[in-house]
């Protein structure tokens, strides 16, 4: 058995050479793009639009970053975004996972309709719901309220998360629940203790998506977070980017851009380490 597997590994690598090349080129291209932005963030506007950007004739302009960080209260924006994203992502899972579970496993009267409704939510562009939402929120005097903002982030992402986790729950075997029932576990207990951990890869992936979505969220934040002290990073920095584009401070603009995307990227690198590949089928067999 082992011999066969080793042989397979060898032929596998050879067969994968075209994949290595294609992916390799893609990766190189991506580095060139991102590298250009990083280089541009250390340059002056003139250098960016000329032939000799990579020579750094006037040195590394770190002041671009200092300017970007100091002129607007970037630290306030950061803390806000961190709070909003962490709280929202946790709440989203707490609300969506149970819903996805019951929708995927149990046949009940409202099942299909609920699924269609939630799916339809995905197709509704933000701009479509913003107007009446603004009406309600203004009447309740809840503009610039952090909790309202988080509620909106959560509610906006619940449908997608439910939909995504649904596919995962559907692929789990019923034998888990049967075994748990035999062991005397309640239905709710079964869910929290057994089924939920089984879809951990899905939860991790969808949380990454949600984190990035909420971190980069612009429309809702712009409309409902007008005061600077509740603003998340997206609105604050994007406005700075727009301003710098018009005044021609492209170096500063790119520095802001790097500041905006760095946290999501770093987070992604760390979280992706924790994605557990597959379910240990051995738990049932054994």
């Amino acid at each position: 058995m082992k011999k066969k597997q080793i042989n397979l590994e060898h032929t596998n690598q050879k067969k994968l050479i075209p994949a290595y090349i294609f992916i390799g080129l893609w990766v190189v291209f991506t580095f060139m793009l991102i590298g250009w932005v990083v280089f541009a963030s250390f340059s002056t506007s003139n250098e960016i639009f000329s032939d000799h950007m990579f020579r750094f004739e006037t040195g590394f302009h770190i002041e671009n970053y200092a300017k970007a960080w100091k002129t607007q209260k970037v630290s306030v924006f950061f803390m806000n975004s961190l709070l909003y994203t962490v709280v929202s992502c946790s709440a989203i899972i707490l609300i969506s996972a149970p819903a996805a579970y019951v929708l995927s496993r149990f046949a009940f009267k409202g099942n299909n309709i609920s699924q269609m409704l939630l799916a339809s939510a995905l197709g509704i562009p933000v701009i479509m719901i913003i107007m009446p939402l603004f009406g309600i929120v203004s009447k309740l005097h809840l503009t610039n309220n952090r909790w309202l903002l988080m509620f909106l982030y959560i509610a906006m992402n619940v449908p997608f998360t439910v939909f995504y986790l649904l596919a995962f729950f559907k692929s789990l075997s019923v034998t888990y629940e049967e075994a748990a029932y035999i062991d005397g576990c309640s239905p709710m207990g079964t869910f929290w203790k057994i089924m939920l951990p089984l879809v951990q890869p899905g939860i991790v992936t969808v949380t990454i998506f949600n984190f990035i979505t909420i971190w980069n969220e612009y429309f809702m934040s712009l409309i409902f977070a007008n005061k600077q002290n509740v603003r998340p990073v997206a609105v604050g920095l994007y406005n700075m980017i727009q301003a710098m584009r018009y005044t021609g401070d492209w170096g500063g603009m790119f520095a802001s851009v790097v500041i905006v995307f760095l946290p999501t990227f770093i987070l992604y690198i760390f979280l992706s380490d924790r994605i557990i590949a597959g379910v240990t089928a051995g738990a049932i067999k054994g």
């Binding site: 506007s45 003139n46 639009f49 584009r245 018009y246 005044t247 021609g248 401070d249």
Partner: protein, 294 residues
Amino acid sequence: MRRRSNQTLLGLAKQLGKGHVMNVPYQPSTFVVMYNKDLFQKAGITSVPKTWAEFTDCCAKLVAAGITPITVDDAYMAAFFGYNMSRLAGVDKTLAMVKNNDFSDPSVLKFGEIWSDFAKKGYMSKKAASNIYPAGQVEEIATGKVAMYLNGTWLPNEIKGSAPNMNWGSFAWPAMDPKGNGIEANNYGAQSFGINKNSKVGPEAFQLIVWLTTGKWDAELAKQSVGVPMGNDSEWPAQLKEAKAVIDATTIRMPWGCGMEDNPEINVKIKENLAKLITGAIDAKGFAAGMQKK
């Protein structure tokens, strides 16, 4: 305030407010040909063109000196076309063209012929066909490759980061055809302050506005933002001194782009067809046909 401020602009505010000054203007601007004086000197051009023939001649001289005469980008194509039409067919006729979305007038074909010819001669930058704002000003004007740009007097301020020491000059787009208007027709406007009608501190707000838009602060704003001051006696920034003559000589005010941007469908037609005209993908007839599509 009335006596201290620019009369033309207050008059405009009154006109736009249907007889009342509803908004107080400040930071005025006008749409003219902004040009690089050093490049003109390099090409041996000694005086600013006042007629279309002189303009064409300027272009030829610039090309001979290895300089691209003029450029445009997707943000200003509509205004470029509108200005040309005002010179070829007149402001009123142009505005009617926009209102009825009817570009069957022969002046449209004439425009196509002129600029198709100019593009072939290299008078119009080839890059203009693919310039996405602000490429025209940042990549071509600020770098000293192109000499002229039909743009607003805000241009020096917008690119002062990349071109702080550019020697700016300006002149009005010359007359092109006896049927159309000449340098007496121009577009000018301003930013403005308005007071919310529900405000409980109206009079105080107005005092604040007056304080901001006249005298010392008006001059300071103009200086820092390389802009046009409101005050009649205020000093204009060096880069815009020649634009003053243009405003003073303006008797007919054209709306922005001579109305070409009022209808987004017309705007997209202009952008698409003018770009193709510049690259030579279509000729003058193709341009006219494209503009007549509904």
